[in-house]
């Protein structure tokens, strides 16, 4: 997929799509409905809960085809059109099916200067896809991400809107891809504050399995 700036084409969503979620699966469980009602009660109007409900639906169905967005809108009692407009505004909502693992590699700003593009290209090469594409086996989608708020541990990536992997190296990517192929998600990693290292001899949390320290980023080979 060429960069938008080189190939500025905006597509038309399928306007009369066949539903992809079987009708007998297209519903929320009682527990999910209760959860959505709780969210609704937290806002002055039900619209406020739309983002949470879309998140829940995406986690349940894997992505947000139109029928799922409609389901969310109906559950909230808001216009489907509004829910659809919201879903297309945000990048983290998947409007089409992605790989089981979506790898969002940050190449922005600090990450750019600390090897973010090297990591992205390495991953693209390793998995045989370009950014924006999914591997043929449907396991991985590689994406280029904007700053993910972890610039001190650049380069970094995020796995399917969840775990952050900090201080990326090629070796780390190899290990990560292997682990994900076996469906082993990396544990949440707490990045230790440098001052904590100095003053407390390490990470301040005793309740996390995995910690890491901030490290100087690698010298980047390319910045695009």
């Amino acid at each position: 997929m060429a960069d938008f700036i080189k190939n500025p084409v905006v597509g038309l969503p399928d306007r009369k799509p066949e539903p992809v979620i079987p009708a007998d699966q297209l519903h929320f469980s009682e527990a999910e409905k209760t959860q959505i009602q709780t969210w609704i009660s937290q806002y002055p109007s039900a619209d406020g809960a739309v983002m949470r409900a879309l998140w829940l639906a995406q986690e349940k169905f894997g992505f947000l085809p139109p029928e799922v967005i409609q389901l969310v809108a109906d559950e909230l009692g808001i216009p489907y059109t509004n829910a659809y407009g919201v879903a297309t505004f945000y990048t983290q909502y998947f409007k089409e099916k992605k790989g089981t693992y979506v790898l969002d590699v940050c190449t922005c700003f600090s990450c750019q200067l600390c090897g973010g593009f090297d990591m992205l290209h390495y991953l693209e090469e390793k998995l045989g896809v370009h950014k924006g594409e999914t591997t043929d086996d449907g396991v991985f989608t590689v994406q280029e991400a904007e700053c993910l708020g972890a610039c001190g541990s650049a380069p970094m990536l995020q796995i399917t809107n969840g775990a952050y992997v900090h201080n990326l190296t090629k070796e780390k990517i190899d290990a990560l891809v292997d682990a994900l192929r076996e469906d082993k998600m990396p544990a949440f990693t707490s990045v230790t504050l440098p001052q904590d290292e100095d003053e407390m001899g390490g990470n301040r949390r005793t309740d996390v399995e995995s910690t890491e320290t901030y490290q100087a980023g690698p010298v980047s080979e390319t910045t695009r």
Binding site: I5, P44, D47, M51, Y90, G149, C151, L193, Q195, A216
Partner: protein, 437 residues
Amino acid sequence: MSKAGDWRNYKRVLLPPVKDLHKLDVYEANDGYSALREILTTDKWNPTSVTDEVKKSGLKGRGGAGFPTGLKWSFMPPVDPDVPRYLCCNGDESEPGTFKDRQLLEYNPHSVFEGMLIASYAMSIKTGFLYIRGEFADWITHMEAELEKAYEKGYVGKNIMGSDFSCDIVIHKGAGAYICGEESSLMNSLEGKRAYPRIKPPFPAQKGVWGYPTTINNVETPACAPLIIRNGGDWYAGIGAEAHPGPVLYGISGHVNRPGVYEYPTGMLITDLVNEVAGGMRGGKKLKAIVPGGSSTPVLRADMIDGVTMDADSLREAGSMMGTSGMLIMDEDTDMVSFLRRITHFYHHESCGQCTPCREGTGWLENILTRIDEGEGNLRDLDLLMDLCSQMEGRTVCALADAAAWPVRYTIDRFRDEFEAKCKPSLVASGVDLATA
């Protein structure tokens, strides 16, 4: 001159060195919620006196604009029991180079909750929304677990600590849009709309979320409130730079040996932060430039930072801004053209698209910088870029267009040689006779 005093012996207060401070019992054992308790149970405090104390502290917002917090709180209209009012706490943290809020949320979540409650008390607010960017999913889970504990303990919710003050906190999860950090976009996002920023006036204090009076603060801002109540505004005002006081979380990234989030007073010398705090330049390289407060703040060349300290006044004099105090340090090998190209890509990608100059201008900037970066640019392009910046600045609904234009304007202005070197040589400059060429 550093305005941070004896910073080498500085004792952290936002993130004090306490194991497991994120746990409620540990937080309690370390004076946690004592400021709120004092407010709710002693006669000394009422909403006005709390706001006055915050005014006295000189606290300025940590979200980027550096607006005086006490003053902002006092903009809320008089209480009308029939009209709800809201607090929004901004944890959208998406400005490239900024990663301090995430650490605060992880390591001291209750200070954010307590701060939100104090702010709510000061403004007679009954609901505070904590907006956290969707990418911080793990931290949202973490915050929710801690919030639940605070509810169980009666620190949040109905009749807090037996007083007649009730306040709920709702954590809102974003879904990937930088613009949601802009306060009025954040309000639309909360309301379940497309997150377009709103035209001001009306200001949030007049017409905010759902049309009701609202105050918006960055998460680090209210986290200072418990400290101010416990130790007094004067104490807080005495930390760091006089006109821009307090402890601040510096997020240092880029070509340094020891990047990370550091808590120090405001008014630290940039050189101290780079050379001492962050362990100096990676690989012994020379410093080329720094961006002091997130991607939209103007870049400073190495020769511009002597004696410059991290506070609003000093940075303004030096030709930049404090922003989010997310500092990017660049070494001599940095390609400023590629660097700027990637920044323009960011703003192009993140423009909400409602205003003409931003929607169209951000893409045009990226187009030109891509061309220059690929060696296809002309010298004329540099002037065009400057023109486009002037056409965007101050002409839009929100400040994203300005934030997109400033890096272009200042990076080119301050590194013009590098940009010219990447452009195709001008026919005039290379001595070609145009008439015969």
